[in-house]
Amino acid sequence: MESKFDVASVRKQFPILEQKVYGQPLVYLDNAATTQKPRSVVKRIEDAYFGQNANVHRAVHLLSQQATEAHEAARVEVQHFINAAESDEIIFTRGTTESINLVAFSFGEAFCREGDEILISSMEHHSNIVPWQMLCERKKMHLKVIPIDDNGCLLFDEYAKLLSPKVKLLAITHVSNVLGVENPLRQMIELAHSQGIPVLVDGAQAVAHMSVDVQALDADFYAFSSHKIFGPTGVGVLYAKRNLLEQMPPYQGGGEMIDQVHFEKTTYNKIPFKFEAGTPDFIGTAALAEALRFVEEIGLDKIAEHEKQLLDYALEKLNQVKGFQLIGKIPERHAIVPFLLKGIHSYDVGLLLDKLGIAVRTGSHCAQPLLERLGMDTCVRASFAFYNTTEDIDRLQAALNRIGNMFN
């Protein structure tokens, strides 16, 4: 059946969007922070708890087998979603942050020595800065930062200059959580690999908006969070190439990750279990798989097209608002509009938008170094998902006009 993207029927799958806040229909434009959940995802959680709840990988009884099958099927679903070569390369974590911390610890233990360097960029989320700072402190290493231009675009030539035999890893975001700018990953990874440097990609802001193929990118590590792609909170993914995972020591110790435990010596399980200590959130992973199926049914190409239309419409409408200042003139932007209203603090803008029923994010967006580089403390961020509409943008535009008048 030829399916056309029908935003009205898609929205029906998200009951939260039907509610009113302060007497106004909710306009949810904080999708870069977290996304709403479709009925099928919540139903999957309910069904699992009411019908299939038993610990995975342990017991011989039927419920445990069903739970294990669902959990492992979720791993395969994730594998296909990002086109990993095999499901053993998919590690379940608690989120992007934990995925990055896992690599910072285990990769650091296996491959990093005093005097080595880790390379990141100026536009990273704190989650892709702090774990590397901690590694650098632990191992007496140095953190190097790829600069950006005044618009927020990465300076490729400067990146190339920073590569050296001392660099042990490049950790870079796929899409900036503040600017929505996409980094030229293919070229960056190719160049890093030509010097034998592996690359970790923070995909938190990418996976819900574009089709990701980790093999085509040739990423060595790719991290993302379930809750940013319509799945439950508390579940994350780390994709990593088998040969790297096999050389890395475990991140945490406990059940599930072991082979044999003796007081003299413990041997570890094979991948991916070596990196999954303790009972995993097997209901969360099954619900994530449901979310990925939901996205695949709509199709990421249709999602990207809809969001591009929304973005173009938003930029056209918002540019008509008096005092509207878009942050970063970037050619390829994904689903995020960061801005300031001239002369009005972004906290005041966000607070008044809330009273008008519009949820956006204000502040430093967990990317203080980026905002500092762009010469500001805070900004307002409107971020879209496929369930947003041009009416949402119209409401935002009208609200910003109204707020602007309150301060004059």
């Binding site: 302060y22 603090h345 906290y347 005041d348 966000g350 008044l352 502040g363 430093s364 309150m406």
Partner: protein, 138 residues
């Protein structure tokens, strides 16, 4: 007027307004009417840092009364600062320490008292009481 009488006055002026945006308009107008803090006090030792907004506060003690001057980088928080100064500035330490600040909840601005780091308002209240206590003990 004592502290509670001022609170009642504030509550009444907000109660007369029905629309949320108009309540905030009043707060914005109050914020805009707040005299700017002398630049010499806009220093780290007077700063109360919130995650999204900042408040600077300076206190002095004359003839048994505490006088506050304060400012914020956001106009809405400045409006709240204006109200707090109206209530607390020129009071004795005991009045400040014993005061029950119920007006914020009554005018429906309770969200500003949440313990999140979003604004420095809760921290500012605490800081004003700390000043009062310090002056009382001095």
């Amino acid at each position: 007027m004592n502290i509670d009488e001022i609170q009642e006055n504030i509550i009444q002026s907000f109660d007369e307004i029905e629309d949320w945006m108009d309540k905030y308009q009043l707060l914005i107008d109050m914020g805009n009417s707040l005299s700017p803090l002398d630049e010499q006090y806009k220093k780290p030792q007077h700063l109360i840092e919130g995650c999204q907004s900042r408040v600077w506060i300076h206190a002095s003690y004359k003839e048994g009364k505490v006088y506050f001057e304060a400012e914020s980088d956001t106009v809405i928080v400045k409006g709240l600062v204006y109200l707090l100064l109206k209530i607390f500035s020129g009071r004795t330490p005991d009045e400040i320490l014993k005061a029950d600040l119920y007006f914020i909840e009554r005018i429906g601005l309770k969200e500003h008292l949440s313990p999140t780091r979003a604004n420095g308002f809760t921290a500012m209240l605490k800081q004003m009481r700390n000043y009062a206590l310090a002056f009382k003990l001095s």
